[in-house]
Subunit: 578 residues, 2 copies
Amino acid sequence: MKKFDQQLIEHILKKRFFIAQSAHIYGGVSGLYDFGPPGLSLKANMLSLWRRHFVVEEDMLKIDTTAMLPYSVLKASGHVDKFCDILVFDEESGECFRADHLISAVLEKMEQTDEVISDLRRVDCMTCEEVDATIEKYDIRGTSGNKLKQSQQFNLMFGTKIGYKGDQWVFLRPETAQGQFLNFKKLYEYNNENLPFASASIGRAYRNEISPRGGLIRVREFEQAEIEHFVLEDEKNHPKFASVGGLVLRLLYGDKDVEMALGDAVRQAIVFNETIGYFIGRTALFFKDLGMDMSMVRFRQHKKDEMAHYAKDCWDAEIYTSHGWVECVGIADRSCYDLKCHEEMSGISLRSKRRLAEPREVDEWVLKLNKKEWGPRIREKFGEFEEIVLSTSQEFIQKNLVCSEGRSYVRFQYDGHDVDVECLRSKKMVHVENVIPDVVEPSFGVGRILYALIEHSFYSREDMKPVFRFKPMVAPIQCAIGYLIYSDEYYEHIIRIKKYLSEKGFVVQVNERSCSIGRKYASCDELGIPFFITFDPGFASDRMVTIRERDSMKQVRVDVDDCHLIVEGYINGKTKWD
Amino acid sequence: MKKFDQQLIEHILKKRFFIAQSAHIYGGVSGLYDFGPPGLSLKANMLSLWRRHFVVEEDMLKIDTTAMLPYSVLKASGHVDKFCDILVFDEESGECFRADHLISAVLEKMEQTDEVISDLRRVDCMTCEEVDATIEKYDIRGTSGNKLKQSQQFNLMFGTKIGYKGDQWVFLRPETAQGQFLNFKKLYEYNNENLPFASASIGRAYRNEISPRGGLIRVREFEQAEIEHFVLEDEKNHPKFASVGGLVLRLLYGDKDVEMALGDAVRQAIVFNETIGYFIGRTALFFKDLGMDMSMVRFRQHKKDEMAHYAKDCWDAEIYTSHGWVECVGIADRSCYDLKCHEEMSGISLRSKRRLAEPREVDEWVLKLNKKEWGPRIREKFGEFEEIVLSTSQEFIQKNLVCSEGRSYVRFQYDGHDVDVECLRSKKMVHVENVIPDVVEPSFGVGRILYALIEHSFYSREDMKPVFRFKPMVAPIQCAIGYLIYSDEYYEHIIRIKKYLSEKGFVVQVNERSCSIGRKYASCDELGIPFFITFDPGFASDRMVTIRERDSMKQVRVDVDDCHLIVEGYINGKTKWD
């Protein structure tokens, strides 16, 4: 496998302000990074490709939800109870370790008996009791050799209090997905009640990592690009699967590690369904378009005991970097778990309509909100309240039903009022049933993909000078313009070329540093700028400029009046450099 | 002034999923809003225009910094101590009021004596003691008539703890500006140490508002687009000011409320300098491009006692909405205050170089880091540490100097080490001096501008049907495609038109609802879609389709093979509709 010079790459990233540690003048906070101009530009270009490749291509519904979520949402989603790491502490120094990291490190160095192998496999999903038992069994110590105290759970969410009373907890979302689940009903309506459809969201998420390290790989504030593809359980064949079926990818499943066509993987039921398969294929194509080295990309299926109990299938896209194989995308069939949890906890029906083969009689509760009584009291919010009442799930009604004096009602709290809404049993013939759809979720870690791309794009020339070989459309800056010695007659041309290319959406850097042209080129190579237009003294006689390409280091001389068009062609790939 | 039907507009915004209250299925959290597909698209188009209009036009350096900031940053910036509201509580019910709101409401209803007017003016900047005195003076009560308890300060930042120890406070940034100040040195270096330059950032900020109301106007999680223009104190003439000098704007200053050319306002020193003037002008042009009704835009200068003590001049761009005049942009000359605070608190020099008219001898401290001793101990982080040492400000050295046994040193803590770095006094001739630059900050409230634009764009037709008249390039969706009755022969054309326009970056909605064409048009009007292409039965004979424009409701019939080009011309304004 290729060796990456992690230290050199990180040095260049900081020196050229791709990234900086947040609040670095105060010593910084580990796990928090800022993006400087080239880093942000690279990220923006990558996300722009992501939008075109996924969102526009599949007509996904884009939404943008708040990072703050109330307690109830994360209680329902399971994050309050389960989004935890287990910590152990050195009995003497109080030093803290993540139990899974510490146990793995010890067990991996031991003789690999069946028992050790089996314990190693379970490390990621042990309870506190199991951690303590394992530590005792192998007499595991802290790194300084001291005994360890009883293990503790540590929730990875950041919590804060909202409002002046200090009694209302909110959390910073640990993933952007929840905002999409919470809006399922509105998205479904926006899509004219058609299934399947997907929503997509790009935004920040937060995890209070215990000991963040590894640059952009494990951070506390990070960007996610997540897709939630809502689809009925038995309709997971994908109409466009054929377009990716022929892709041969490296797949890891069970004990296997093979190159296989996606179509075969689905046929052999290694990949659970075409929808998962389609997103695996599209992810691979996205990486390729981005410029990732595909020999360092693999798709690994989660083992049964590694997956959440509700998940039907889950594949990680892993990319090889100096940190080893890094999980960059997770593609999971999460069944109807998320929507079901929120329906149960909120009492609001989160269902889609499915046409029945033939009409069926149902016997249901119907809520009768008394508009005469409550309209004048709730006033302009009545419409909103009515919507809530009409969205109430049958299960919620059943659970909260009060029967008194021959009448049945459910009590709602709304806007300071206790509203008793009458419930009647009603029989009717229906042509549709209400079902909670499944969701297939491709979830992209933006910072990790970016970091992997940076490492894959890096190389050193024979003279050891560093270069990033970003594709022209992905590079932070598409074109630099410079000169050997400044002359006023260049000015109008520089302005014109810059204006033309900027209007096409490209970033142009006018290089005004006073140094040799060789140093200028080297400086641009460190930013991965693919093209450099140079004005030199010859210009006065022939009105020609030089275009230099980054990777071949070859140069062509062209008429100054055409150079903007020529460079444009190189950038958008309509003209090949060679 | 125009009347806006706030209730109707908010109803449509929610019904058509421009916005939704966050976690609405759980009853929502006040002050938190999600953006659905049309709302997000509108916001994205607005920000895209903002980027072109400001960032690309002025070659600003884009950066993207974390929302989490450590305590020290916000202590230095003054937010820990001063970013507060004063609260008063009902003695009996415990109900909470913002002191400024409560006092203003009472005083505004009283006879406007000189004393009342003067107190009213001071409401925004009163201390707790002044609030209590004012409440006693006028015998101000809570809304239920009860007496009030002593007032309390309430900090508006959201705090949370980072790491497992629970001893490290971080705050969610109350503004994106701080991330730019913290990176000043890196930005300055990235800009080859040239001044002036501006950085720009778009991102979320957070304020724990006491009683959020007013839709998108006063929220707890919001988006800001902020520019920090770094410039030397005496170099605030702007080379491009002439391009906006002729703009006539409504300016409020002192007791004046006049229409005036910006050039005159600067000449008369009403606007403090050309740089502020330039950004006022560019902001007005941005609003105009966006489609804002310019008769409802004004620029109001802060009064002396309204401005922070360090600010030299400050203008708010206010836009009229159903909530009255709303502050949407603040354009302030903040002097060198922010950088100075951070330099003092961090000990890191945040200065730019200014060429001296003639060389001057200086007598300074120079730090000598012993590489032989510390290189092997700090190892790969030595370079980073050396950078910190070399960036240390003279003031920090002076303050922390220890003299012992004839040697002077400063102690640094780095990576667990106490490092004593020797300090020597050194005389030398210099050609530059180090000065902290001033900053002019135009700060845009994205949600407020968006909401104002929505209200300004709204109107009802004679039949009362609601319409948003968004400009084609700003509208959430540029074009809808539909039909009277579906026919298979439309399919390939619909796909082709959609693909063509999507590739140009436009959003196209295929309207598959089965309803009358009138209802389809009405539905698209509610989303502000400017153009609608309709296939009708006539197509079979003449291969013509109808293009309908939203505001005139006029229709033209064109050949299906040209319609994508024709609509493209209408959208990008190259062809006029009439």
